[in-house]
Amino acid sequence: MQKVNLCDACSKEKGVQDPTGFALADLLLGIGAAEEIEKGAPSQRCPVCGFTQADFKKSGRLGCSACYETFAEGLGGLLKAMHKGTEHIGKFPQRAYREMELGDRMRALNEDLEKAVAAENYESAAALRDQIKRLEHEKSVQR
């Protein structure tokens, strides 16, 4: 084995990659993974945990659950290539189910409220507002 110390300029000239830029993501997730994730804006940073695309490229792991949203654009193609499908059809937490249900009910009530207001039916509008308030309270308790 031959060991050579190269300065920045020489290493570029000789085509030696920057070792810190070594893409573990490629190794763990398949060639092209590191490139794929860069499809989003390159300077993007997760607002929740501060993770960057460079971090993902290095580790092949994400920083927190919110990263899935932050890096959604780049992750989309990656997940598609990696898995059987692109949407989860298995188990879900009951909490998530109730949240979805509450969201649906909330949307319906708001639509009804808009209609009631448009029809100048203020009595039922007031009743609907009360219901929405109760639902909002229920939602905040669950969190």
């Binding site: 763990l28 929740v48 945990c49 792991r61 920083g63 899935y68 898995h83 989860h88």
Partner: protein, 374 residues
């Protein structure tokens, strides 16, 4: 429960009596879960990891399944103790490298083990002997359902459970079975089987998972993908493939018996000779020879009541188990001597291989095979 208790009692799955236990050593199902909007363990600072651990650990300890459990912080376990847990498949090699901010909790029967702050905040695993993936899933699914009411798991309606590594997103489930396939190895068919299994999106790995060598003719087969398929669909698909491999292994053994009986008896005889008389043995050699003896028990060359002592040796001759039971740290050479000594001692009462028993065994082989596929 103390570590000495863990050491003294082998896992229930080791006393193999599940369906197809001759070929399927164990079935495991693990679920990965994370807390919403908290940094994953690999990205979290020490303080946050500790905070998350303090949030999760009591919730696990109060589970009815975890009464009288073994619960330990990783920094309180010695390197040797961690390695013992790895050798029993109770924690991963990655988890053994963790210290402050990580923990392991397992039940007395060693059928459930939960790692806190491995790669994900929670890695819950259940283990069963033989081919019992469905019941292993049921066990861990129940724990997950209890915990989700107390902990806010990261979940997205479209992507499912969100995990540190995108390869686990969706169900967060990895189902795997450990198979003993000496017949397929001896008849040079194992690579074909591995390739075929890989082609249909399942992974084949060595004894200790990703990137490890296949020793003792032991192979782990697991699902590769976690998104776009339901948990029970994944398990059914995997179970079917494993049943096919079991059939192939039986076929390979029958073919060897018919076409190359002398090669087979030679292998078994040599394994018996070396194990009975050697004074130094690496763990790799031990596993490979023990595998041949195990095949001998399956074929009736050794009596059935010799199965458990051989199965136990598979675990007891692993490096950390050797050192832990001898209460001292040993170098490689000392380990090899001790390993050979333990094996010699246990095989002292072992009868010589008797190939006259084989013909009868293979005649009623079909009736002696367990019919129950869960």
């Amino acid at each position: 429960m103390k570590f000495s208790n863990v050491m003294a009692t082998g896992g229930e799955w080791l006393r193999g009596d599940g369906p197809h236990h001759q070929i399927v050593i164990s079935s495991r199902v693990r679920l990965a879960r994370n807390l919403r909007e908290r940094a994953f363990p690999g990205h979290a600072k020490k303080a946050e990891r500790t905070q998350i651990l303090e949030l999760i650990k009591p919730r696990i300890e109060e589970l009815p399944e975890m009464q009288d459990s073994f619960s330990e912080l990783l920094q309180d376990l010695s390197a040797l103790e961690k390695q013992v847990l790895v050798e029993r498949h109770l924690i991963s090699r990655e988890h053994a490298a963790k210290s402050v901010g990580s923990a392991v909790i397992m039940n007395r029967r060693q059928t459930i083990s939960i790692m806190v702050n491995e790669e994900d905040h929670l890695r819950m695993q259940s283990m069963r002997s033989g081919l019992q993936l469905k019941s292993a899933f049921k066990l861990v699914d129940k724990i997950d359902s209890t915990l989700e009411a107390k902990l806010d798991f990261a979940y997205d309606p479209r992507l499912g459970y969100l995990t540190a590594c995108p390869t686990n997103v969706g169900t967060g489930m990895r189902a795997s079975a450990m198979l003993h396939l000496p017949g397929l190895v001896l008849s040079d068919m194992i690579n074909q089987v591995i390739q075929a299994v890989n082609k249909i999106g399942l992974a084949v790995r060595g004894l200790y998972g990703e990137g490890t060598e296949a020793m003792g003719n032991l192979f782990q087969i697991s699902n590769q993908t976690t998104l776009g398929e339901k948990e029970d669909e994944i398990i059914t698909r995997l179970s079917k493939v494993i049943e096919t491999i079991i059939e192939k292994e039986h076929d390979a053994r029958q073919t060897l018996l018919q076409n190359k009986p002398n090669t087979l008896w030679d292998q078994i005889g040599r394994a018996y000779g070396v194990l009975t008389f050697a004074h130094a043995m690496t763990s790799k050699e031990a596993l490979n020879l023990l595998s041949v003896i195990k095949l001998g028990v399956d074929l009736g060359v050794f009596p059935e009541d010799r199965r458990l002592p051989i199965d136990e040796l598979f675990i007891d001759t692993q490096p950390a188990h050797l050192q832990k039971s001898s209460q001292q740290k040993l170098n490689a050479e000392e380990r090899d001597h001790l390993r050979a000594e333990i094996i010699r001692e246990r095989l002292r009462v072992f009868p010589k291989p008797d190939i006259s028993k084989v013909a009868q065994e293979s005649e009623n082989e079909s009736s002696s095979e367990p019919q129950d596929n869960e």
